[in-house]
């Protein structure tokens, strides 16, 4: 397993958001974490990435428990986190945005350079010197993924990659995710949109009120309308 999460609990202030969440991501697979707004998807991601101050549970990444490590240590071990609100550095150029994400090459995973990323995202190649703030929302979304790939990750956490994007850009996004998978990356993405998720994911985990309600192959979820209708409000 690339990522094995068990008994993950997370709090914001006094409020417990996550209750013993468990999920696995195998090498080279795409797993969708599905749930309604406020179900705990983002908190799960932030807990895995070490961004939730109060959390408990075990997060095994590769062959190491990273649940006590600070964020930058987790990221340096090859786990990339792409937050839902993109958070491009708008005062920096595309090149400089990529530079912030750069980490040394890692054994056994694809090594990304700006040149390789420009091949994957041809849009970006044409605007290397452009400031992040001068890019459209869709271009920013591509840049935020490219920036994370500069860390040569083994696993990418994509938080709500389709939220707030034009349908056309959502399609581009789906293609990019498939391309990343082809490179051998593991991907854990969170979604509210089952239609989008089923197009690109191998497995699904459904979360509701901080509890995991379903975990299994995507095909199985799709054949159980009772499950997704209960927890996803399609």
């Amino acid at each position: 397993m690339t990522l094995r999460v068990s008994n993950l609990c997370g709090w914001y202030g006094q409020a417990q958001i996550l209750f013993e969440v468990a999920l696995d991501v195998g090498p080279g697979s795409v797993v969708a974490l599905l749930g309604r707004n406020g179900a705990g998807k983002t908190t799960t991601f932030r807990s895995i990435a070490g961004l939730v101050p109060r959390r408990e549970g075990v997060v095994v990444f590769g062959d190491q428990d990273v649940s006590r490590l600070p964020t930058y240590e987790i990221v340096r071990r090859g786990l990339a986190f792409v937050p839902e609100d993109r958070r491009i550095f708008t005062d920096l150029t595309v090149e400089e945005n990529l530079e912030v994400g750069r980490q040394p090459p890692r054994l056994g995973v694809p090594h990304w350079t700006p040149e390789r990323l420009y091949e994957l995202f041809p849009n970006l190649a044409a605007m290397r010197r452009r400031l992040g703030g001068r890019m459209s929302g869709g271009e920013q979304q591509m840049l935020t993924i490219a920036r994370s790939l500069m860390g040569n990750p083994r696993l990418v956490l994509l938080d709500e990659p389709s939220e707030g994007l034009a349908p056309k850009i959502v399609e581009d996004m789906a293609h990019a995710i498939v391309a990343m998978k082809r490179e051998g990356l593991s991907i854990l993405l969170s979604e509210q949109n089952l239609h989008f998720a089923r197009l690109i994911s191998d497995a699904a985990v459904v979360i509701e009120s901080g509890h995991v309600r379903f975990a299994g192959p995507m095909a199985e979820l799709v054949s159980h309308p009772d499950v997704y209708e209960a927890y996803l409000a399609v």
Binding site: N37, R134, G137, G164, P167, V170, E171, H195, L199, A233
Partner: protein, 261 residues
């Protein structure tokens, strides 16, 4: 008296020489629901913020109920009867749900400078009536910092209704809501438009919402309107499909998409 509720002519705005909106013109009638869609960064928010007075246009005019309101402040737009909801909910987080509405109602009544008396005793009946309207009555006494996201969106709508507006501007009213909540909120909104004869302009990325609830749809791309008309006409427009709607992979025929994948 057959002037339009809102008439926008050749509206334009650029930032540091980069045009964001160029020559946008349209009209909106009372009781009509008009959707503004387009790719991210097409200028939708800029358009909205000009209509609401938050941004001054470089050129063009905005006529509201026949009067020139170009470059009026948000405050004066509100006094003229324009309500607005925000893409990222903007509520008074330290107050209860009802107090949010009471504050807005006090402001509408011009009583917000009163330095005595208890604000949370004012306009209770009116506030509760609005909460009933959006289905939030049960949460009236909760602090709005504890509300679920969908309820915050509802509260936004209720607050925007406190001045009995004749025009509602809604910036991505359903963003971040679950599909069922989206439909509920838009149904409530549409009912308000019909009952009170309110004109509604909204932006939205959920095409199911747009094509189900809008009377007319406008498509903005790179600051220009590239299509305007009935939902079915716009949906079939080739340019719109190429730029914005795509091949329908996500929102269209799933079975066909699966095959391609």
């Amino acid at each position: 008296m057959n002037q339009s509720l809102l008439r926008v002519e050749s509206l334009a705005k650029s930032y540091h020489g980069v045009p964001a909106v160029r020559g946008v013109s349209f009209t909106l009638e009372r009781g009509e629901i008009l959707a503004l869609i387009g790719p991210n960064g097409a200028g939708k928010s800029t358009c909205f913020n000009m209509l609401n007075g938050q941004i001054r246009p470089n050129a063009g005019t905005i006529l509201f109920e026949g009067q020139d309101v170009t470059a009026s402040s948000p405050r004066s737009m509100w006094r003229r009867g324009v309500g607005r909801t925000f893409q990222i909910t903007a509520t008074f987080t330290s107050m209860t749900v009802r107090e949010n509405l009471q504050t807005a109602l006090l402001s509408h009544a011009g009583q917000l400078s009163r330095p005595f008396g208890k604000a949370n005793r004012a306009f209770e009946v009116e506030a509760d009536a609005l909460l009933d309207r959006v289905g939030l009555r049960g949460q009236a006494d909760r602090s709005c910092g504890e509300l679920a996201y969908g309820d915050l969106k509802r509260l936004e709508l209720a607050v925007a209704l406190t001045n009995s507006p004749s025009l509602l501007l809604m910036d991505e009213p359903t963003a971040g809501m679950a599909p069922k909540e989206r439909a509920d909120l838009m149904r409530a909104t549409a009912a308000i438009a019909r009952e009170r004869n309110v004109g509604i302009l909204f932006t939205e990325h959920d095409m199911d919402i747009v094509f189900e609830h809008a009377d007319r749809v406008m498509v903005l791309n790179r600051g220009e309107l590239i299509a305007m008309g009935a939902p079915d006409v716009v949906r079939q427009d080739r340019q719109v499909r190429a730029i914005y709607l795509g091949e329908g992979l996500v929102h269209g025929d799933l079975a066909a998409a699966q095959v391609r994948h």
